[in-house]
Amino acid sequence: MALSGMRGLSVFISDVRNCRNKEQERLRVDKELGNIRTRFKNEKGLTPYEKKKYVWKMLYIYMLGYDVDFGHMEAVSLISAPKYPEKQVGYIVTSCLLNENHDFLRLAINAVRNDIIGRNETFQCLALTLVGNIGGREFAESLAPDVQKLLISSSCRPLVRKKAALCLLRLFRKNSDILNVDGWSDRMAQLLDERDLGVLTSSVSLFVALVSNNHEAYWNCLPKCVKVMERLARNQDIPQEYTYYGIPSPWLQVKTMRALQYFPTVEDPTIRRALFEVLQRILMGTDVVKNVNKNNASHAVLFEALALVMHLDSEKEMMSQCVALLGKFIAVREPNIRYLGLENMTRMLMVTDVHEIIKRHQAQIITSLKDPDISIRRRSLDLLYGMCDVSNAKDIVEELLQYLATADFAMREELALKAAILAEKFAPDLSWYVDVILQLIDKAGDFVSDDIWFRVVQFVTNNEDLQPYAALKAREYLDKPAIHETMVKVSAYLLGEYSHLLARRPGCSPKEIFSIIHEKLPTVSTPTIPILLTTYAKILMHSQPADPELQNQIWAVYSKYESCIDAEIQQRAVEYLALSRKGEALVDILAEMPKFPERESSLIKKAEDTEADTAELSAIKLRTQQQTSNALVLTDQRPANGAPQVSQLGMVMVPSTSNVDQNTVDQRVTQSNGTLSAVDPQLPVQDHAPAGDILGDLLSPLAIEGPPSVSPQSELNGVPSYEGIPGANDALALAHVGDQESTVKPIGDIAERFHALCLKDSGVLYEDPYVQIGIKAEWRGHQGRMVLFLGNKNTAPLDSVQAIILSPSHLKSDLSLVPEVIPPRAQVQCPLEVVNLRPSRDVAVLDFSYKFGTYLVNNKLRIPAVLSKFLQPVQVSAEEFFPQWRSLPGPPLKLQEVVRGVTPMSLGEMANLFNSLRLMVCPGLDPNACNLVASSTFYSENTRGMLCLVRVETDPADRTQLRMTVASGDPTLTFELKEFIKEHLVSIPTGGKPPAPVAQQPQPTNPPIASSDPGALLAGLL
């Protein structure tokens, strides 16, 4: 690196390193940043060496974590430097400081492109690396063909082609349209034949991206991929430097196999056989060795091969071989390998008919549950959960229960949930299920969610045979000295419902049951108390006619809670007390709970949700979507109804004792969500469409030839026919100026007034015998504030006054309310706010109408909120002008046109015109005295300030033609500005020498539409 030459930089770095603490460092860095700012702002400019040095410093500061938000211009400009050291820093700093969305990158595109198409390989590499790191959509559009050319060119060195492949990958990810599918499948196939492994590896990376996007088009590449695999794994035909610990380029193998997984199947039997041979070789050849690096590499290949084997649904023999291999893995001491073994075995579960083989390893997996490493414990839990079925459920659940006592707190909840689910799913008999869940609550009460015990209650209620057993078990647990609150809840519920079934047994009389439950009351929290109160009521009910002693005890409890602060408890106490005084009737009211309707277990649903969250690897996901028969069907449903996951989770938490059917609720929620989201996108469309149409209708005839053909006709047809049909007024509104001339004719030429207002900020917009509309405007950046002065010149009031602004899409305008009546000899002021959104020549139109007597007068007046109003003249010096001028290369940013038919005017007049169009003429910039250079800043909401540069070359011999060049940072702006200036040059009614067409002042019978000049036609119309 050329750092050694830069003393200032090394001094700065050593200063920063010598700083004792963060604060000192910050002070030093801020000082340096101040220095750099001063240097960059220096008028004299910087030498390339200085620029390079300061940009390096900026990078160093940026890498230290400080915010550097200036100087990007300097960095970008270094890219186009001729020498390597400067170019290098330019590329490095640009790719560090900027990201693909920065506007500054646009400035670099051209320089980068020059380097890519240039001959210098080093520069090509720099450029490709930059694009490969931060290239965005725009880069993709403008550079893709060149990069493709580099990649497939035979004259390039592998070094460049390698980078080109990766660069193309980036561009493809940004914009997948850049690669033409048809052409590329052949080229890709060619690339896969590449001998150079570096290029091949990069190409396969690109290939993976292409195939994941559209595998159909690349069928022809499939044999090539298999061939690559054969070359690597079977023939080992690769140079020495590409073998890694004896494994031929593991990266390439993994990538190729990943690509193969994107093809649904391999149909051609020969290819299939060849592929299986390779896979077999990989499976056979992999083992656990001492060397960590070798293990990592060979296992990466192996696991990808496993994934491929699973994907291809190969024969059982191969599967069992895989499982056997994984069995070896999980028996190893090294935790990483064991983890991988377990994880892959879990993945294998998705494939059918390997369960039996995996079950052979059950003992080993259970041992892993006691591993000191938590991630291994989690994996083995997942695996156990996945491999559990009716045959081994008892063992596995018992193992899980045993493990629960010693498990990590973090894992217990998941463990409890999984154990509960397995017990429910695979219970050999129901009493076993009750045993398991009660044990579970006993051992891990804190981690047992309400769903679990709700489910037990549901089961017991629905199975009469189970009821005495469950009640007995609950009674047994209550004898324990300290039991968990959840256990209190569940046993209280069970005993309340079913204790009468035990009545014959010793210690199970209602009295004893009550006393043993009542013992727990002081120890439980508020939510449990209502359950206990209900239990008492149930006991009382079952023991009718009541034992007076027991009844008194229970009543005492109720009356104690009658004044409880908790509303739920209080209500229950009061109600139960009142009910229990009813004696026999109590039996009917508090009868046993009816059976619950059968439904899907909320637990299982919950588990599925969490499983869906941890869905993995894109390739696998893709596959599950392709094969809908797979286990994870749930993932497919979710995107279809578009429900947010949260709502489903939330619904699951609803206790299952509630009588609402969860499924329907779920669906209802999702449906309502679905429709809502479907409605949303439509709204804006409906809003916009009509508005756009109106404008289109209104403005298109205005701009093209429509009206000229209409108004002469109206002229010929005569006025009366028009006045008779008021409805036609609307349809042919634009012809109205002409129509009403018999009654109301405008004073002065409207077009001329409009043009005058384009050049100044206040004046009269329209005048007729009754009304005068004046305008006064202030412009600031992209916003403007106009005031319309509507003056009634008459002695009678004008009524039905209406003013509507029809603004084109690029203007946002807001006219305050116009009063309906203008009193005699009065003036009304209407403020009008205008915001410019983007450059456009279209003008806003004021639809102004009023009624004078019985005539309705309607005018469409153009509002002088034209393009030039959003310009802010700026004086630029030569130093600023030329770099800017040069940095905007050719179309569409810089446009040139020869304009003919210009109104002849002297250079001074033209300069005045430009100045009044807010384009600041900068004298002395152009060496040719006949030329004019002007500059200005354009403001719109989208672009903010944007510099516009204009150059006009006049021909002293022929003043009617000139050559105009317009440049700015935005293509539309350049175009619109050019057209705008052209309009003004061609048709301006200058004070001294009015051009021919407009010279015909409006005469009542002959409006100035006869002229052939389109601009004047337009002017005459309005």
Binding site: R28, D30, E32, L33, R37, F40, N42, D69, F70, H72
Partner: protein
């Protein structure tokens, strides 16, 4: 008095124990681990100084690079515990000569153990006054100013002195020349809007004394504060003299001041400790005389230029002058070039503080000085955030001026022997946070 501590731990920043002392056996030995695990290594560190872990309360405080942790298992008096820590740190500082950090602790293990034994007993705080303890707990290398002749020390007096009414002063002091120095030090806090209206303004002041007096003198201080003057005029039944009276808020006194006499007679009378001490602290919120007026105008001209004009007027007496005036005029972070003109002093752009630093060494009263600067900004890539315009900050010291207008009316010294004393009074006003928005 409730218990303040069951154990005290001194930890370094990594959580290693430097020194600990268990005062009661109701806390276990693994308390430090709990602290390390639940406080030091979490992001809650520094959010709340009191935490309960298990059955124990942890009060902790960081002093330079040492954590002092007090562990209590019973219902303790938190305020008392923290006051104890603060006082203990002051005590250690006076023993170690100013510094209290990890190294100081490592170098003085024995001394600290001895002090820890002395200042707390079974969890109850004991005497923490450095003057007292230095008489009895001495170490090689630490020289108390009074220990030059250890044989002179009447050891039997220890109990008497500790338990006596005037615990802060020894008897039998003799000085050839009896002198009292009294300093009134005030710092002005101001926040002013750009239009010149005062948004927040107060003065915190303290009266520092240094006494070199023989015997057991009784001092009485008179200030021109409102309560004192009113009381006086009530007693003497004559109207107060013309002149401003000051209303003092939040007055706190040194323990030597006789509070009963202050409550009944509103006079500050006391038997001073020997040497330097802080007699009282007060605050004033009304009628503050601001020493400086600042009139800033900052104009942003477009996106890359700014004009800054700042006028500073001194409004204290023409004969006085301010020293070390520093005015920090903020400028945006992307400042590239500045050109500054000032009528006095020097001004420079300081990139690391993002301000124009204007320094005036000596600023006479009733004068004004202006700074005008043109600032050029560099254009940045970031979406233009409007500059937040932080306030202008000012530092200064004005000797012989009090922003509150507080004056010492008299300082009387009575002693049995009736010697003459020389009294010295100084005033000084400093800037606290003196900020003007712009």
């Amino acid at each position: 008095m409730p218990v303040a501590a069951s154990a005290i731990y001194f930890l370094n920043l990594r959580g290693d124990v430097l020194i600990n002392r268990l005062y009661r056996d109701d806390v276990g030995g693994n308390m430090v681990d709990a602290f390390r695990l639940h406080i030091l290594q979490t992001k809650e560190l520094g959010t709340c100084p009191v935490r309960q872990i298990g059955g124990c309360s942890f009060f902790y405080m960081r002093i330079s690079n040492v954590y002092i942790v007090i562990v209590v298992s019973s219902n303790a008096n938190v305020a008392c515990a923290f006051k104890f820590v603060v006082e203990a740190v002051n005590l250690f500082k006076s023993y170690f000569g100013g510094a209290f950090d990890e190294d100081a602790i490592r170098n003085n293990f024995v001394l600290i153990y001895e002090l820890l034994d002395e200042i707390m007993d079974f969890g109850y705080p004991q005497n923490l006054s450095p003057e007292m303890l230095k008489l009895y707990i001495t170490q090689e290398g630490v020289r108390s100013p009074f220990s030059s002749k250890p044989t002179d020390r009447p050891v039997p007096n220890a109990t008497l002195q500790v338990t006596g009414a005037v615990g802060w002063r020894r008897e039998g002091l003799v000085y050839k020349k009896n002198e009292v120095f009294l300093d009134i030090v005030e710092s002005v806090n101001l926040l002013m809007s750009s239009k010149g209206s005062v948004l927040r303004c107060d003065v915190t002041g303290k009266i520092l004394m240094k006494c070199f007096l023989t015997g057991m003198p009784d001092l009485k201080l008179g200030l021109n504060d409102k309560i004192g003057l009113e009381k006086e005029s009530e007693i003497k039944s004559r109207p107060t003299k013309s002149g401003k009276t000051i209303e003092l808020d939040d007055v706190t006194f040194h323990q030597c001041v006789n509070l009963t006499r202050f409550n009944s007679e509103k006079t500050v009378s006391f038997v001073p400790p020997d040497g330097e001490f802080e007699l009282m602290k007060y605050r004033i919120t009304e009628g503050v005389n601001l020493p400086f007026r600042v009139l800033p105008t900052i104009k942003e001209l477009g996106r890359t230029r700014m004009e800054v004009n700042v006028k500073v007027k001194s409004v204290f007496g023409a004969k006085m002058f301010a020293l070390g005036v520093v005015i920090k005029v903020p400028v945006p972070k992307q400042t590239a070039k500045t050109s500054v003109q000032v009528t006095s002093g020097r001004a420079k752009y300081n990139a690391s503080m993002d301000c124009l630093m204007w320094k005036i060494r000596k600023f006479p009263g009733q004068t004004e000085s202006t700074l005008s600067a043109e600032v050029e900004l560099i254009s940045t890539i970031a979406e233009k955030k409007s500059w937040t315009r932080p306030p202008i900050q000012m530092e200064f010291q004005v000797p012989m001026f009090t922003a509150s207008g507080l004056r010492v009316r008299f300082l009387k010294v009575w002693e049995k022997s009736g010697y003459n004393t020389v009294e010295w009074v100084r005033y000084i006003t400093k800037a606290g946070s003196y900020e003007i928005r712009c």
